[in-house]
Amino acid sequence: MSATSPESEKRARFETTALPFIKSVFNMALRLTRRTEDAKDLVQETYLRAYRTFDNFRPGTNCKAWLFTILYSIFVNRYHRERRAPDTVSVEELEQKFHRSLAAPATPESGAPGRPPEWTDREVEVAFDELPESFREVVLLVDVEELTYDEAAAALGCPVGTIRSRLSRARKALFVALEEYARKTGYLKEASEKK
């Protein structure tokens, strides 16, 4: 008779494989729901569903991406239905703003005289929170969690081409928002405070 049952082996494998990603899963849940309590519920339900379907997970593939797929599915079903609104971003307008900002940046690149090293984390978070949800999702999956386009497409249930185009627009929108914020607050203030 074996010392460990198949169930306890499954449990041990699951804990070893999936639980190390709880920080990333919680981060994703929190950034999507924006409420700690909702995020905690979402994390627990994600792990429960992952555990129930752990036989579907293929060893050697990206477990974090698999968990995000489950999380996103629950998120859409539970929170999304009533809140989902079409993203109202005009591509042409965004491109114009982006290239205008690029030509005359309010925040010179790092290392330029009189310029603090980079945007602060807080500024990035505020600008990020203003983005449409479909933009936030791809930035989180690809830039923060370092999923490949294919993995992100599987998690969100959309074509790879959609990930690519959304990501392009999302980064540009984030830059435009950061630039607008910088123009509003003015970095000259920081430069003078440094003196």
Binding site: A3, P20, K23, D38, T120
Partner: protein, 268 residues
């Protein structure tokens, strides 16, 4: 001179995301060398990508979340018990469900309390040691190189800085490690082998001295408090390093294990 179509906008993004190879990559890089406009766009998008990765990365997880998740899995493993999990997790309370809610909350509190008692952190760590010794817990990487193991832990999602120390001077050789869990918390586990086949196991996981039960033999060294427990023939020495709890476990002589912990603990 340059019309919109001359600028490989999509490929700039692909380059940024590491999706180009060979000649395609060389072609885009060549274009960037020659085109200031595209170069500026590439640099800007790289700044945005990097700023997002830094600012939006995972912050601390609520300390109770890992334990609650493990408790939810425990309930899942006991199908004969009433399934309260889904009600708890749904998070949609209605007045009519108040009684059920109270019962569920009480049940969770009970289960958590019972779990805490039935498997304290030292018990769980001692069990891991026994499982390793019995060959029931396997290493995921075999290496004698501390930095390689630290990189392995980082790549496998360990969210804190691991400190895999070299114990060669003290007669212990690093043999490998695995990503493990201690009471549901991700743990960096690494193993050393000493003379006469003595095995020394170190685990690092997020936690503090508050996670440890009473009954420890307390030691102080270098301004650090050490919590020593005995489990059968094993000695377990815990100490905190910032927000991480470290533990050395071995069936070597107790004072030897304590001395190893003294030598390797990093004051914070």
């Amino acid at each position: 001179m340059s019309s919109e179509s001359n600028h490989p906008r999509d490929e700039i993004q692909d380059l940024l995301d590491g999706r180009l190879d060979g000649s395609e990559r060389a072609r885009v890089e060549r274009h960037l060398e020659e085109c200031e406009e595209c170069r500026r766009e590439w640099r800007t998008l790289a700044r945005v990508k990097s700023a997002a990765a830094t600012a939006l990365k995972a912050k601390d997880v609520p300390s109770e979340l890992a334990a609650q998740t493990v408790a939810a899995l425990d309930r899942e493993d006991r199908p004969e018990e009433p399934r309260r999990t889904s009600a708890v997790l749904a998070g949609r309370w209605r007045p009519a469900a108040a009684l059920a809610l109270a019962a569920a909350v009480a049940a969770i509190a009970f289960l958590l309390a019972r779990d805490q008692k039935s498997a304290s952190v030292p018990d769980a760590v001692a069990r891991d040691y026994a499982a390793l010794r019995a060959g029931k817990l396997h290493l995921q990487i075999g290496t004698g190189e501390p930095r390689a193991l630290e990189r392995f832990f980082a790549a496998r999602g360990i969210g804190f800085e691991t400190n895999v120390f070299d114990l060669g001077m003290m007669g212990y050789r690093l043999i490998g490690g695995r990503v493990h869990t201690v009471r549901g918390r991700p743990s960096a586990l690494f193993v050393y082998r000493g003379e006469q086949n003595k095995i020394l196991v170190c685990q690092m996981f997020e936690g503090s001295a508050r996670d440890l039960p009473p009954g420890a033999d307390m030691r102080r060294h270098g301004g650090i408090s050490f919590f020593v427990y005995r489990r059968d023939t094993r000695t377990l020495v815990f100490w905190p390093e910032g927000e991480v709890l470290c533990v050395l476990t071995s069936d070597a002589d107790a004072e030897e294990v304590i001395a190893l912990a003294f030598a390797k603990a990093v004051p914070t």
